[in-house]
Amino acid sequence: MSAANLAPITATDSLSQALKANIIPNQEYLLQGSVLDSAVEVLLHRLRGLCDNVDAGTETFDDQEVCFSLRDPNQQAAPLMLRVRKALDARDMPFQLRYIGQPDLGDKSRPTVVRSSLDIACSGMLIEFLNELGCRIEFEYSVKGYMFRKGRMKITVSKVFKISQSSMSPEPISQSYLVELSVLAPQGQDAIGEDMRAFADQLRPLVQLDKIDYKRLGHMS
């Protein structure tokens, strides 16, 4: 029997192989900040100068994100959060289903937030699937802005909007753009954090990208 006729290995096996080889990008390194509406043009200009994907003009996106929670049946752990993103400007693209774990800020020496993350492209009836799975919609928003790439780094500059019930134009939740710098990488590639810090420094003082613990912020206010 030729090699082509060998039995295909099961998906479970190939997945555990990939896990063992540590090639699955399941960690997100993240820095966040914001820029005032008045200064966003300057920031975009600077990003156009620094980033890779600018030859064919600036890449834009217009997404809607719904955040679901799935409560732990034993009531022991915090609810599991799942996010679904859908491109409003490219409707035939698949949904993006995201699992995001607890952010780990580490100590001062760690340059970025690290959190486990699974980014899954999905098609089909995802929203209904999640509803039936036992997930509940927690909140949703739309997010519109610009996406830049620099090597493995992704930089988004985006405006976050409340979803409005009527056909009125959506209401932005702040007078600033959210700026996020992130990299998805397999576990243990912490060196990328330094690269991100270096890149973030190039955007100073226009934007201050930092490790932000939204959990603590949420409790404070």
Binding site: M125, I127, E128, N131, R136, Q165, I173, P205
Partner: protein
């Protein structure tokens, strides 16, 4: 007398150390040039020269200092010159000088510059001394002008580079910490995005009457739409839901 001898010995020792340092530095430089010339990082290579010049300065300091006056009164007298190989000398010099020949001695014992170099130095001195004061002044002024022009260009460039930072330091800010926090918590926990609810509220979304801006029910619109053979009444609902909800294909 004994004190002087001791002093001389200490001085010689210090000089020897310096010379050895210098020698190892030069060796490192040469081996780098010979072995790593393909991968060499030239800016760091230049640092080697800084090390060399450091050692040279140290050496000349010792020679100039008052500790070493007696050295000036010491004479080196070559007793024997010859073309035959002197093993002891070769060993002392690590094989560099196999014999004390006529060829080498003038270089090794030289206390003045080479005649050629001396001649050129004299030429320059002569040229400088014949130059009229006015011409010299003119040339200096011209040079200063060029330098200051370059300086101006550089500092203007720097100002442009740092302009934004200076402006932001002195003038309006380009970002606000409060906005950052608001945006990050909104995206992270939904704060401000859930109508009329505290963050992480347990069951509010499905409850009716909450949230004047939008009811939660239409989110489930696609659920109805996904059933393959839905009655027509539902289909009209879908259309309505479709306009506000983008998750329907």
């Amino acid at each position: 007398m004994q004190r002087e001898e001791k002093q001389l010995e200490a001085t010689l020792h210090a000089i020897l150390n310096r010379v050895n340092d210098l020698k190892t530095a030069i060796q490192a430089l040469i081996s780098k040039l010979e072995n790593e010339y393909e991968t060499i990082n030239w800016p760091t290579f230049l640092d080697n020269y800084a090390i060399l010049s450091g050692h040279l300065t140290g050496l000349s300091k010792i020679l100039q200092s008052e500790v070493a006056p007696s050295l000036r009164s010491v004479v080196v007298l070559p007793l024997q010159l010859g073309c035959e190989r002197d093993e002891a000398l070769a060993r002392l010099t690590e094989g560099r000088v196999p014999a004390c020949t006529h060829d080498l001695v003038p270089d090794l014992l030289r206390t003045k510059p080479e005649p050629q170099a001396e001649q050129r130095l004299q030429q320059f001195n002569h040229k400088a001394s014949t130059l009229s004061h006015d011409t010299a002044q003119k040339q200096v002024a011209q040079f200063t002008k060029v330098i200051s022009h370059v300086w101006e260009i550089i500092s203007k460039g720097r100002e442009d580079w740092e302009g934004e930072s200076m402006r932001s330091a002195g003038m309006q800010p380009t970002h606000s910490i409060a906005d950052t926090h608001a945006l990050v918590t909104a995206v992270g926990t939904g704060k401000g995005l859930r109508p009329g609810m505290p963050s992480m509220g347990p069951s509010g979304v499905g409850a009716p009457g909450l949230g004047p801006s939008r009811g939660p029910a239409p989110q489930l619109g696609p659920a109805a739409a996904a059933m393959p053979k839905a009655p027509s009444a539902i289909k009209t609902n879908i259309k309505a839901a479709n306009q506000i909800h983008p998750y329907q294909r």
